[in-house]
């Protein structure tokens, strides 16, 4: 393409335009998340939604992904669970909720609460690969009541039990 250009173009001096855009959002969490986060904030309880076949999903949701049936019941799960996947993250990552870089290394994994058929990602209280592993048992460590705001971050992290 460069051979067709009408004037000389120095690739090394190509102009780049810098912009920073700050956007503010306010998401309605809805019935399922409101009930879940209220129980988490006020009582440090983890709730899942259950369908007529007994499938339990966390996060709770209107329709079961396994049976396609409505999920009209609530059931308490956890706070213990097992790791369905786990890693130690070394690469710097800006925490999207705070804009601040998380201290590395940190543990990160998929936790399947006892009594649930699905997992959620969360932080692990671990800094070395030898501490983590698929199938290891964990338990939720909740922030103190006065610090809980109704968010998954009300769980500080998961502590390894094994």
């Amino acid at each position: 393409m460069s051979s067709e250009r009408a004037v000389a173009f120095n690739r090394e001096q190509a102009v780049r335009i810098e912009q920073q855009i700050t956007l503010q959002y306010r998401f309605a969490a809805g019935y399922y998340a409101t009930h879940f986060f209220t129980a988490l904030r006020d009582h440090a309880k983890i709730l899942g939604s259950r369908d007529a076949q007994g499938n339990v999903m966390v996060p709770p949701r209107p329709v079961c992904g396994l049976s396609s049936l409505p999920m009209n019941e609530w059931v308490e799960v956890g706070p213990d669970g097992v790791l369905a996947g786990a890693t130690i993250v070394y690469v710097p990552f800006i925490d999207p909720m705070t804009g601040v870089q998380r201290p590395v290394p940190y543990g990160f994994g998929l936790v399947r609460f006892t009594g649930a058929d699905t997992s959620i990602y969360h932080l692990l209280d671990a800094t070395a690969p030898s501490q983590i592993g698929v199938g290891k048992h964990v338990t939720a460590v909740f922030k103190p009541r006065e610090q809980r705001t109704g968010s998954l971050a009300d769980i500080q992290h998961f502590r390894l039990l094994d």
Binding site: M57, T87, Y90
Partner: protein
Amino acid sequence: MSVVRAAVVAAGQSDHGRRFDVSMAEIAREAIDRCLGSRGLGFSDVDAVVAGNMEMFEGIYLVDQLFVGALGALGKPLYKLNTGGTVGASAALACYHLVASGRHRRVLGVGFQKQSEGSTQSAITTVGDPVWERAVMAGAIGNFAAMASTYIAESGVSMEQAAKVAVKARRNACLNPHAHLKLPDITVEQVLESEMLAYPIHRLDFCPSSDGACAIVVAAEDLAGGLCEHPAWVHAVATAHDQQYMGDSPKRLAVMRSLQAAAKKAYGLAGIEDPRRDFDVAEIYEPASYAELAMCENLGICAMGQGGALIDQGVTLIDGPLPVNPSGGVLSTNPVGATAMIRVAEAAMQVMGEAGEHQIPDVKRALATGYGGNAWTDIMILARERPRPDAQVSA
């Protein structure tokens, strides 16, 4: 209703890499000009355009309006898609459907992305559910590393076996004039000694962030033969989704339900009984070394749990029985909105006999896959032979 048979008749790619010298519109044009130019076509020869792009990477949400001229769509239908990393393949499938339905006869597909223009990791945060997932995300790398841990637990694949995939990709890339990351002298030891990003993923186990674009033309059966000596006929297209949240799939990567479901549908349509025997080449969407091994298992290229043995035996090397990603794959080039279309384009180039230095001899049938979002899949099967007039191609 009769279905029109359709073929990919042209493919073009930009030079992929860190492209500070071109705008988004210009990099799309680079691929389009090469694609149309390879057949002596111009914009007037295109009836409709399908564009694929993940808007949040560049933060430009009306690329179809802003780049309508560059995409060759003035006065024509222009359909923009965003289905995540899958989008380039979704756009290719949409091109197929627009032709097969009889709606249009020559459709241009374009996938493009300039990762260098935004913050990739921050943009990926916006993929997550704002209520449930963003508070504890760890970017694409943390996500893939956790998935890889599940795969390792299931399959017993080793770091060395994964590293062999990383080596294969970057050596293959040296034969591809468009590829981003070319490392002719890379070794397994170098992969294992490269920086640990998130256990067990080393820097060289992971794809780069690239700027790039890809374009294809899909034409109806009465035009295809006149546009191209060996059209890449579409024999199967299939799409399947998994559940919505990242922790919903019980054994992510190890058991990829959407890949299995889409492959089952596509293989049934195209009469594939043994993918390792029936395909001559595969271009699959492997953003990490471990992903290629897991995907080969889930695609039936080897038995479940045998991904490590597959690379140890050299089956998927460029001179092996079933070369996987002779282009260098996603591990060598990842401009997200273009990436899955590159899989389709590379598969088509192999069938057309136009893959240059990384051409596999005598390709009759090729597999292309796209992977995106949480865990969903597009598949396209292309072949040298024209499908039967009554063949069902789409499921």
